[in-house]
C-alpha cells in the first residue's frame, strides 16, 4: 500500500469526510480505507468532527412508503402502496364525482405528455403511479388549473391551464376542502400562469386522502390580520380532487 505523510493523509481524510474529494480519488481513498486501519481511523476522526455539524439540520419524517419499501425488498413483506399499480376505474365512485371523469381524462393526457410531473418514480408505459390529481375550473367550467402529487410525495405540482387574473397586491392561494367537516386548509400560493411545485408539509396521502375538492381564493398578499377560512363560493376556481389508483 502506498504510504502517505501524516499531513497528506490528514488532508485526504478531511476532504473525503467532507465530500470534496471526488471522482476516482474518492474511490481510491475508499479502497485504502478498507486496506489500512490507519487510513480508516484518519477518515473516521474527521467524520466524527463533522458529525458535530449535523445536529442543526431539521429532521424530516420519511413517508411510510420508505419503510414499506425496505420491508418489501429485505423481507418480502407486503408494501401495498408500491405494488398497487392497476387502475381500478370502478373504485373511483364515478357517479359521486360529477365532472371528475372529464378532468381525469384530461389529466391522463397531460400527465402522459409531462412524465416528469410524476416525479422520479418508475412508470410503466401503460400505467400511472398512484397519485392525487385535481382539476380546477372557473365559473364557466373552463379547466384552469391542474394539480398532481404522487401518493407518498411531498410536492404538489400545479399547472395553470389558463392564466389567473390576480389583482396587484393579491395572491392566489390554493386550499384543500375536506369533505368530512374539517375546515379548509391552505396548501400554498400558486402562480398566475405557468407551473409550480408546492412543498407539502406531509405526504399527499396524509393530506388529501379525505379531500374531495380543491379551490383557489384570491387573497391580500400581506393581510393585516389572519384571514377567515374560506367558505364555499369564495373561490375563483375550484374542482374535484381524485385518487389516481
Amino acid at each position: 500500500m502506498r504510504r502517505f505523510s501524516a499531513e497528506l493523509l490528514d488532508r485526504l481524510a478531511q476532504e473525503y469526510a467532507l465530500g470534496t474529494l471526488h471522482g476516482g480519488a474518492r474511490r481510491r481513498f475508499e479502497t485504502l480505507m478498507r486496506e489500512s486501519a490507519e487510513v480508516a481511523r484518519a477518515a473516521a476522526a474527521w467524520q466524527q468532527r463533522l458529525t458535530r455539524l449535523a445536529g442543526s439540520v431539521p429532521p424530516i419524517e420519511p413517508s411510510s412508503a420508505l419503510w414499506a419499501g425496505l420491508q418489501d425488498q429485505l423481507f418480502g413483506a407486503p408494501a401495498p402502496s408500491r405494488k398497487k399499480r392497476a387502475w381500478p376505474w370502478a373504485a373511483w365512485g364515478l357517479p359521486s364525482l360529477g365532472g371528475a371523469l372529464a378532468g381525469a381524462v384530461l389529466c391522463v393526457l397531460v400527465l402522459q405528455s409531462q412524465p416528469q410531473w410524476l416525479g422520479r418514480e418508475t412508470v410503466a408505459a401503460d400505467t400511472l403511479p398512484a397519485s392525487y390529481v385535481g382539476l380546477l375550473a372557473d365559473a364557466a367550467g373552463t379547466p384552469s388549473l391542474l394539480a398532481s402529487a404522487t401518493r407518498q410525495g411531498r410536492l404538489l405540482h400545479v399547472k395553470l391551464l389558463q392564466p389567473l387574473q390576480v389583482p396587484a397586491g393579491q395572491v392566489a392561494r390554493l386550499y384543500a376542502l375536506p369533505g368530512d367537516g374539517r375546515a379548509p386548509f391552505a396548501v400554498g400560493v400558486v402562480p398566475a400562469s405557468g407551473k409550480a411545485a408546492l412543498p407539502l408539509p406531509d405526504s399527499a396521502e396524509h393530506l388529501f386522502a379525505r379531500v374531495p375538492r380543491l379551490g383557489v381564493r384570491l387573497e391580500p398578499a400581506a393581510p393585516a390580520s389572519p384571514l377567515p377560512a374560506p367558505a364555499a363560493g369564495n373561490f375563483a376556481i375550484s374542482g374535484p380532487c381524485v385518487k389516481m389508483w
Binding site: S56, E61, R154
Partner: protein
Amino acid sequence: MTAPTGPTADLAALMARVALKDRAAFEQVYRLTSAHLLGLATRILGSTARAEEVLHEAYLNVWHAAGSYHAGIATPMTWLINVVRNKSIDALRSGASERASTVPLPEEGAEALAGAAEPELEPQRLFDRSVSQLKIDACMGQLSAQQRQALALAYYHGLMHSEIATRLGAPLGTAKAWVRRGLARLKDCLTAAGLEEAL
C-alpha cells in the same frame, strides 16, 4: 475513548443486533435515525423524494453491512451519517449531467428549498447554529464569513471546491484554502472545547 452512554450506547447495541439480523432492532434503528438522516440527505439533494431513494439504499446497506460497523472507531450515528452523506453526494454528482440536460420545473426541488427560503435553514445559518450549540462560536468566529460559508456549502449542500468557488465568486485555489482553513479551525475549536473525543 470513554464508554458511550445514553442514546449512543442504545444505538450501538441495536447495531450489534442488526449485525445478527435482528429485524426488530433494524426497525428501531430506522425509527431512531431516519428523520435526521432524511433531513441531511434532503439538504444535499434538494429533494425529499431523491433523498428517500438514497435512504432506501442506505438502510439496505445498514442491514447487509451492519457487521462492518466498528464501535471503537466511530459512533453509530457518525457511521450512519457517513453512509447517507456518501450516497447523497454520489447521487448528487451522478445526477448532475442528467439535470444539466433536462429542463426542470422552476420550482423543482422546492420541497427542500422551502426550508432554504427560511433564513434559519440556509447553510450558513445551519453552520452558525451548530457551532453555537457546541459553544465554539467565539472560536469559530475567527474565521472569515467566506471561510465559514465555504465550509457550510461543502457540508450541508455537498458542493465540490469548484462549485463553491463559482457560488462564492472566488478563484478555485481560494475556495480550497477557505475550506481547508475552516476545517483546521473546526478541529482546533473542538479540541479546545474538549469535544474531540467523546461524542
